[in-house]
């Protein structure tokens, strides 16, 4: 079946919105309507609330929504990673149970992959799931779990076979986060935020039907989740359009959405500072007069060279992709480049601030934003794959250098592991 034309799609969407969109509806009522219409997630399959649209048609639909100020499906947090994983690996029953409430925003999700003992080496997870009658019993600890305190469902990677090699003994589950065996504790960060959690499992249970994919194939399922996470990170870097920015957002539904956004986005408020806030550098240097200092100009220029070159490198990668050319090395470099940019930005902000860089909060430069930059940048080269792992990937996959000698190929039981440790705040 060939795709409809963009103009007919635009006409369909705007017509549907004109007869259905109403800012005085409740958020949940509207989203259910939207999910049934197929306009909420047009890139999804027609069987599951979508229309099988290509990216360009999806963009057209989004623009029509923006023009009328219409609210879309819930997108915050990791819900769409969960949905993408379930669409690819879940059973019909999983899709029926979870997809709608993901899109309406009624359910919130978290990702339970990293552990205290397995960070870069994600497949070294030691949280265990043991089948006991009709349920899996889960014991262990997860870490860096964004929004675990809001979530009612979790994507869990746990070990089900200790005699298989590392990657082959893992299984993938959906776990109910609201149960006695699950204990969520916030993890305070060096920048004062606590957007991640530690999650402790003490005989927590997963119903037997909530295994996603096959037993022992959890790593492959987790790869799907991570691939979508990476794609989303690239999307976030590409910025937003401001279509419909002039629409007055008045009505009950906007108030409800604002509350939702404040909750869901709360863990991410410091992320722009983590990236270094290059956007503030030039204006701060000009406004403060520090631009008169040749050292400031030199360091600022280095930052601008780096950040522009990184942006243009990403554009080259995207252009090659759009033309269907094989991906060149430029596509693997964004994460590593972002670390360099963030560190250079922190250096420039310090240089512009001078002694003020010693101060934080309302005493600090830019009402504490600069202090937050300085204390958040160290995370950028760790989160989502450390610089060291990125360099390994670039060296091995792009430059075709030999792989590391491995010491974890045999039965996982025999692989040297970290001793489980509970972090601060725990008394056991």
């Amino acid at each position: 079946m060939s795709e409809p034309s963009e103009s007919s799609v635009r006409a369909d969407v705007s017509g549907w919105l004109e007869s259905n969109w109403d800012p005085d509806l409740g958020l949940n009522e509207w989203r259910n309507k939207l999910v049934d219409s197929g306009w909420g997630m047009p890139e999804w399959p027609t069987d599951w609330f979508g229309r099988d649209f290509s990216a360009s048609l999806v963009r057209a639909v989004e623009q029509e929504f923006a023009k009328q100020g219409a609210i879309g499906v819930a997108r915050g947090g990791i819900r769409l990673l969960a949905a993408a994983t379930l669409l690819e690996h879940g059973s019909t029953a999983h899709k029926e149970q979870f997809l709608r409430r993901i899109l309406t925003g009624e359910d919130n999700w978290c990702q339970l992959f990293s552990e205290p003992g397995s960070g870069s080496d994600l497949a070294g997870a030691t949280t265990r799931a043991d089948l006991d009658g009709d349920q899996w019993v889960v014991n262990g600890q997860k870490l860096w779990t964004t929004s675990a305190h809001h979530a009612n469902w979790g994507l869990l990677l746990a070990r089900t076979d200790w005699d298989a090699p590392k990657h082959e003994g893992l299984s993938y589950f959906v776990i109910d986060m609201r149960q006695p065996g699950v204990d969520v504790q916030p993890l305070a960060q060096m920048n004062g935020h606590a957007s991640f959690n530690q999650v402790f499992f003490d005989d927590a249970v997963v119903e037997r039907g909530h295994l996603i994919g096959e037993i022992g194939k959890g790593w492959q399922v987790a790869m799907t989740t991570l691939a979508h996470e990476r794609r989303r990170a690239d999307g976030l870097r590409s910025g937003y359009s401001d279509v419909g920015a002039d629409i007055e957002r008045v009505g009950r539904i906007y108030d409800e959405e604002q509350v939702e956004t404040a909750t869901v986005m709360e863990p991410y408020t410091w992320y722009p500072q983590r990236a270094g806030r290059v956007d503030l550098a030039l204006s701060r240097a000009l406004d403060s007069g520090r631009i008169e200092d040749p050292t400031v100009r030199q360091e600022l220029a280095k930052l601008l060279i780096l950040s522009s070159s990184a942006e243009w490198t990403a554009r080259r990668a995207r252009a090659a992709q759009q033309m269907g050319k094989p991906q060149g090395p430029e596509g693997s470099l964004g994460k590593l480049a972002a670390s360099h940019v963030a560190r250079a930005a922190a250096r420039v902000h310090t240089l512009i601030s001078g002694a003020d860089a010693m101060l934080a909060g309302s005493d600090g430069a830019e009402d504490g934003i600069v202090a937050e930059i300085l204390l958040s940048v160290p995370a950028v080269s760790i989160a989502g794959g450390t610089d060291e792992i990125q360099r390994n990937i670039i060296a091995e996959r792009v430059l075709q250098m030999p792989k590391e000698t491995r010491f974890d190929k045999g039965p996982f039981r025999d692989v040297p592991k970290n001793v489980s440790t509970r972090l601060a705040g725990e008394n056991e």
Binding site: S308, R315, L333, V398
Partner: protein, 398 residues
């Protein structure tokens, strides 16, 4: 503020451009292996006349951006930069930068139509090698630093002074000399002159260069009768643009050299065995190579982007030329230093080829202005633009 500046760039090469690159690369693999580079760098002229003729006749490179009406191919900056990148890879020894980039653009941008029609066809055909004498013994980059006076005498001009760092100055058949009307400063009062190398009062001396693959000369002008090209005192803007073009071209040459160094270094680390394994299997080596790749690709992106901006005649071209030149200089030198380090002791020997690129990298780093100079220049351009835009905003009615 729009950041980063975006001209209507494609961010990719066309199929024709890819084919053009392949053609140039194949030609240079044949004609400029390092055995040839080593042979030519020991000659006075520093290039092979037969290869230069083939470059002109078979590939049309010598007149690449010269307009078709003047016998050239009428290509754009992106195409020149593809050629420069490939020449940088192959470390080609030839007066391309001097004659086909600097001199050809200076003539096209400054000279009268009549003079352009007289000079450009023979440059395009590769029959005449021209060069631009602009920098003086103090080595300061940019047109502000031009001090050599041009005195008006009756119906002509007389040059007195010295030009230094003149690319291929000893082998050039035509010297283009940038000079200043006494009493002028900055980019005002600048004129471009044509001088025959054998004119009375011209003394040329080959400079001993750190990079023997690119020849430079010091040229003394002692009461030399010079022929004015274009209008008197109005060469400033054209010379500024010529230097921007040269900086972008050089940036592309540099990223070509850097990419080649990375490839050669990678190949070496994969075959070099120590402790019973290839050194490419050590993370200490892998991580350095990954960083080199990042630096090279970032510099490439800026060099390509600046070339596109120049073709689009963007207002940002000066800013982007300096950005690309500073970025490529740092990346090339970094890559060259790492390349020698990763080769170990053999990398410090004369017989191994890495030092050939290292010397080109070091020399190119400071040619047409070192990275710090270009960073300052891009910041000044940015500051002027920011102040203009904030004044324009304040001037608007509320």
């Amino acid at each position: 503020m729009v950041w980063p500046p975006m001209v209507s760039a494609q961010f990719h090469f066309t199929e024709e451009q890819d084919q053009f690159r392949d053609m140039v690369r194949r030609f240079l693999v044949d004609t400029s292996p390092t055995t040839e580079v080593r042979r030519l760098m020991q000659t006075d002229a520093g290039y092979d006349a037969a290869v230069w003729q083939r470059l002109a006749r078979e590939l049309g490179l010598t007149g690449l951006t010269i307009e078709e009406k003047h016998g050239g191919a009428g290509f754009g900056m992106v195409d020149v930069c593809i050629a420069m990148e490939e020449m940088g890879r192959a470390l080609l020894c030839a007066p391309f930068l001097a004659s086909s980039v600097l001199a050809a653009h200076a003539i096209a941008l400054v000279a009268s139509e009549e003079d352009a029609g007289r000079l450009l066809p023979s440059i395009a055909a590769g029959e005449v090698i021209a060069t631009l004498a602009i920098t003086e013994p103090d080595g300061r980059p940019g047109v502000d630093a031009i001090a050599l006076p041009a005195e008006r005498t009756g119906d002509g001009f007389v040059l007195d002074g010295r030009k230094h760092f003149v690319l291929d100055g000893c082998s050039a058949d035509v010297l283009l000399v940038a000079a200043r009307s006494p009493g002028s400063t900055g980019s005002d009062g600048l004129s471009l002159f044509e001088v025959a190398p054998d004119a009375a009062g011209v003394t040329r001396r080959a400079l001993t260069t750190l990079d023997p693959t690119r020849k430079q000369a010091s040229i003394e002008f002692d009461g030399v009768q010079a022929r004015l090209l274009g209008r008197v005192d109005e060469a400033g803007p054209g010379l500024v643009r010529t230097l921007d073009i040269a900086a972008i071209a050089l940036a592309n040459e540099m990223v070509g050299g850097a990419a080649r160094l990375l490839e050669d270094t990678l190949a070496y680390t994969k075959i070099r065995m120590q402790f019973g394994r290839s050194i490419a299997s050590f993370q200490a080596i892998k991580h350095r190579c990954a960083e080199m790749l990042l630096q090279v690709e970032l510099a490439k992106s800026a060099a390509y982007y600046a070339a596109e901006a120049m073709d689009a005649e963007s207002d940002e071209a000066t800013y982007l030329a300096s950005l690309a030149k500073a970025g490529a200089s740092e990346a090339y030198l970094h890559t060259a230093i790492e390349a020698i380090q990763l080769h170990g002791g053999i990398g410090f020997t004369f017989d191994q080829d890495t030092h050939l690129w290292f010397k080109r990298a070091k020399s190119s780093e400071v040619m047409f202005g070192d990275p710090a100079w270009h960073r300052e220049r891009m910041m000044q351009a940015l500051i002027v633009k920011e102040r203009a835009s904030s004044e324009a905003q304040m001037g608007q009615p509320a």
